[in-house]
Each structure stands twice: as structure tokens, then as C-alpha cells.
Symmetry: C2
Subunit: 340 residues, 2 copies
């Protein structure tokens, strides 16, 4: 597989390198017949311009990087990630961009920052938001790197953000429980150092307050966004003297753990206790009982983020800088009317 260069393509097509370059880059000022001829040769020779040379000269790489910060890495097994990645890669590959993956763990943060950004390997970043105090985000914002944050941040202001309306989603969930007659409703929230967790908890509180139900702090348990986290939290709730008749769990993965705790306690959802999740991961339909949950368009989250970034990179700044997608309620079997 010896590679031809643009020079040889030019010779074969009987034009100059410049013209070939113009054809490749879709410059308008090439006579149609000439363009045709050049394209012919390119196809015949299976010529593809060499990325390195191209970036060196043009100062763009056609690469975007998906940054997964340390704190997310822990829960990287969540089905959330593959779906987001799928959304991103699909959009990028359609538009001829490549996707680089960077899991920044531990103390490599600054290193990464150096290696990837200063080496100009990438035109822009998609960052999964996570810990509020993540030290990388300020650096990136400060550096004016083109950046789309997937998830919002309470006070940092990146140029672009995409998120699901987490609070609204939680309201949807808790309202559903209220409608079923529940009044004593627990919440298993994610760690409150994540904006997502905070928003969902706020939605829970908002819904209760609007319904005139007092908030009891002992009914709100904070746990990790993992099965283990949900399991431990649910055990705590179940050990209360007066346990809730329904629980809002801030992620399906946690809900899985919660279901297990319920089962181990010899109880049954939804008969003894109603459970509603958040995310609608692929497995949610296959738990026992099938999980009623809040659907978020995860893949769309990824593709929207990618679209914004690419539009920005290509000089067509997206109209909306901050997009919030709507979640929806998915009814399955884990919630039932309050039995008292």
C-alpha cells in the first residue's frame, strides 16, 4: 500500500497541486470538467490526503475529543456512556470528524491538558460534566477551547452546554407518585457534588412542596450513582421506623440496587413499596418488576452536543448556546397506588 501524494495525483490529472487541493476541499473555483477529471483520478487511485500534512498546513485536525473526567470514570459502566458515545460518533462520522476518547483519571489532569490541547491534536472538546469542583473545566474555559459541556454547571459558564431538564424530570417522577396517592415519598439522590444529582433532588423537593407535602430530610438519602449506592441507600430507608411507601431513585442503575434491597428485605415492589427511576437505560424494562422511570434521550444528548461543537468549529455558531432536552415518563410495573 504505497501511498500517492497530492503531487502525483496532480500529475495524473494533468493539473497543479493547487487544483487538486481545491477539489478536495470543495473550493468553488474549479471548472466542472476539471473537477470531474480530478475526482476520477482520486477515486481510481484511492487517494486520501494525509491527515498530518493536512493539519499542519491548515491548522485544523478534524478531530474532536470526548473528555470523561475522573469522577465519571468510576461509574463509566453505566449504560449511559455507550449511548452518549454512540450519539457522538454517529454525528461526527457523518460530518467527517473523528472522535478521540480521553478518560482523565487521577492526577493526570494537567498532563492530559498539556498533551492533548497544546499538541493541537483536537479541534474541540465534548466534556461530560461531573463533579462540580472538577479542576479541568476552569482551565478549559479559561483557554477558550471550543467546548460543549454535556450537563450543566452551577456557576461556571462554558460557551455551550447540552443537558436534560433534570429538575423537570424529577418533578415528573414525583408527581406520578403523588398522583398514585403516595405522600410519604423517599428519595435516593446521587452524590450532591454533581449538578445532575442536585437538580434531580431539587425537582423532588419542588414537586413535594407544590403538593403541600412537607419535606423530611431523613427520607432523602445520598448515595453513589451505582448499584451499590442504591442498595445501601434503600436499606437505610427501609430501616426507618416509618418507612416511605414510594421512593424516587435518581438513576436506574441505583434503582437496580434498590430493588435488590427491597427483595432482600422480603418486600415486593410495587406492592409494598413503589419505585421510580431515572434514565431509562436499556435494562430498565427487564428488571423485576420492570422499572417505571424517566426517559432521557441519551443518544440525542450526544448527537446534539456533537452538532453544536461541529457547527461552531465550522464557523456557523449554533443559535442556542444552551440546550435542554425534555425527559418523559415511562410507565412500567414498579409503581402502584398507595395501599395503607
Amino acid at each position: 500500500m504505497e501511498q500517492l501524494t497530492i503531487r502525483q495525483i496532480a500529475q495524473l490529472a494533468n493539473v497543479s497541486r493547487s487544483t487538486v487541493s481545491r477539489v478536495i476541499n470543495n473550493h468553488p473555483s474549479v471548472r466542472p470538467e476539471v473537477r470531474q477529471r480530478v475526482l476520477e483520478v482520486i477515486r481510481e487511485q484511492e487517494y486520501v490526503p494525509q491527515a498530518a500534512a493536512r493539519s499542519l498546513a491548515s491548522r485544523r485536525t478534524n478531530v474532536v475529543t470526548l473528555l470523561i473526567p475522573r469522577s465519571s470514570a468510576v461509574i463509566f459502566t453505566d449504560p449511559f456512556f455507550p449511548l452518549i458515545i454512540q450519539g457522538i460518533t454517529e454525528t461526527c462520522s457523518e460530518r467527517d470528524y473523528s472522535v478521540m476518547l480521553s478518560m482523565v483519571t487521577g492526577l493526570q489532569e494537567r498532563d492530559f491538558y498539556q498533551r492533548v490541547l497544546r499538541s493541537r491534536m483536537t479541534d474541540g472538546l465534548l466534556m461530560l460534566s461531573s463533579d462540580i469542583d472538577d479542576p479541568v473545566l476552569p482551565l478549559l474555559i479559561n483557554d477558550q477551547m471550543p467546548l460543549v459541556l454535556i450537563g450543566e454547571h452551577p456557576y461556571m459558564q462554558p460557551m455551550y452546554t447540552v443537558d436534560v431538564a433534570n429538575r423537570a424530570g424529577a418533578v415528573l417522577a414525583v408527581n406520578h407518585l403523588l398522583q398514585l396517592g403516595h405522600r410519604r415519598i423517599g428519595a435516593i439522590t446521587g452524590l450532591l457534588q454533581m449538578k445532575t444529582a442536585i437538580d434531580r433532588r431539587d425537582g423532588y423537593k419542588q414537586s413535594l412542596l407544590q403538593a403541600g407535602v412537607a419535606i423530611e430530610h431523613q427520607l432523602m438519602i445520598e448515595g453513589e450513582f451505582t448499584q451499590e449506592g442504591g442498595y445501601a441507600a434503600m436499606r437505610q430507608l427501609l430501616s426507618l421506623e416509618h418507612r416511605p411507601s414510594a421512593v424516587f431513585v435518581a438513576s436506574d442503575t441505583m434503582a437496580l440496587g434498590a430493588l435488590r434491597a427491597i427483595y432482600e428485605a422480603g418486600l415486593h415492589a410495587p406492592h409494598d413499596i413503589s419505585l421510580i427511576g431515572f434514565d431509562d437505560v436499556p435494562g430498565a424494562a427487564y428488571t423485576t418488576p420492570a422499572l417505571t422511570t424517566i426517559h432521557q434521550p441519551i443518544q440525542k444528548l450526544g448527537s446534539t452536543a456533537a452538532t453544536m461543537l461541529l457547527d461552531h468549529l465550522e464557523g456557523r455558531p449554533p443559535l442556542q448556546q444552551h440546550i435542554r432536552l425534555s425527559p418523559s415518563l415511562v410507565l412500567r410495573q414498579s409503581c402502584g397506588p398507595r395501599v395503607s
Copy 2:
């Protein structure tokens, strides 16, 4: 963030570009004091060589690509993927490589092939094996691209492969069921166009035959590697006149679906039917009942593959070209002795 070039670093350190380049690339022939001085300047200026220029001159990119073929993309939500990715990115980032992600879907196969390979964006490939008839693999092998296939192939011979001993794992699983006294043991296999599925099914057969149990083809159901697939397959098994007392399910994700089918039939595992899975995904401990399964070191699969590829790229060909990792049995609650 104006970027300095190697030239300016050279000036600041009072040496030539060549010397700076030597320092960067760890060439031995630089006087220690000079090296020190140059490193000093580099650190002060936070200089990082520009990737594009570097690759253009050196003909290497320090990028490897993870190729996820179409047929896998469907089940990309499986927790299998994040774990493999984690193993890969960890190893690569330690060794100063970046990871590119390519999900090749539909008819883009040739396109991808062109874009990524001929554009020289990547030094080598990690490919998740999948459909036996995947058309990309032959192309890659033919092109002599440095390639590690994660998973084996029945007749194509890539330079390097890493896999879990799938057959042995299945034997482990079915032997366990046999030991519990089960004789009528069903199998839910993945689609048999995948080597993984074939191997696991063969292990199932091998175990039975060695125990002197006749194989009944009606007890072997082929399904997709998804919850849906497992669900449908288990329904089929349950509808048999004389249903099995235990079932070997070729993946935990499918087992999830199978559990649901059991539940819907008003039955209970392990009391009415024993179930054993394969993979030991993070959720397996949190199903109801917790899933007995075969653990595979998924993350290690990724890191081993990456290590092999990087070693090869760096001119230290790995000793073993084909590595097979050992699975192990994880006892939980979904299997019990045969009651009859």
C-alpha cells in the same frame, strides 16, 4: 495561548532545534547539563510539540483506533464495552498514546477504511471481533495494518488476538449445573454468526457429552445478545412440554431478559429453574436473584490488547501472539440443586 515552536525553545536554551528534538525524543547523545537546560525551558514555556508536524516528519501518530464493527454496535449498550474501553484507554494513556473511537456502521465500512487507514491517522487498530462474516477484517489483514483482534475468528488469522477462553468458561458453567444434579439443561446461545457464541455453545455441548448427557437440540435456543433476545429465548424454553431444570445463558445481558421471562411465567429462580450467566457484568450482582455467572476479566482484555499493540508498534513484538484469558465461576443465588 500562543504556541512556541521548537525553534524558539532552541533559541531560549541556546542550542539548535536538533538538540531540542533529541531531548524530546530521549536520544542518548545529549550532554546531561544541556539536556537539563532544555528540559527547564520546555517546562517553563509549557512547550508541547505539535502532533501534526511530528507525525508528518516521523510517520507515526501515537494514535491507535478502537474499531467497533456494525454488528457489535447494536449491542453497544452492553456493559462489556465501557469496561473494555476503560482497559484500553488506561494502558494507552500511560504509554502516551491516544485512543480514537470508530463505530463502523452500515455501509460506511469502506469509507471508514479509506478515511482512517489511508489518511494515516492511526498507527494501529484494536478491533472488537463480531460477526464472522464481517467484511472489514479481511481488508485489514490484507493490508498488513498492525491489528489486535479482541476475540478470535474461526479461520481468519490476524497477527494478534486476545480472547477469553469462552469454551472453557461454558464448560465451567455447565459443569456447575451438572454438579447440582441437573441433567436436563437448556442453553440460550448468542447468534451463531459470532465466534463467541459458537465457542460458548460448544463448551455447553462438551460439558454435557463428557458427563454422558445426550444433547437435545430443542433445548438449545439461539437469540440475540440482548435482554430481548434472552427474554424471547427463555419463553421458548419455558413453553416446552418438558422444560429444563437449569439453563446456561451465554451472556448476563441475555440472562436479565431470561429472568424476566421466568418471573412472568410465575416461576422463581433458583427454586423452579436454575440460571447461570456469562460475563459477570457489574449489574449481575444486583439482579433478583443475584446471578451466578462466569466472570471474564473484561477490563484486562482491553489492557492486554492495548499492550500487545503498543509493544508491536514500538518494535518489541509480544512473545505470545494469541492470548487467552481465563474465566472463573462466580457463585451467587440463581442456581440451586435440582428438585424433582
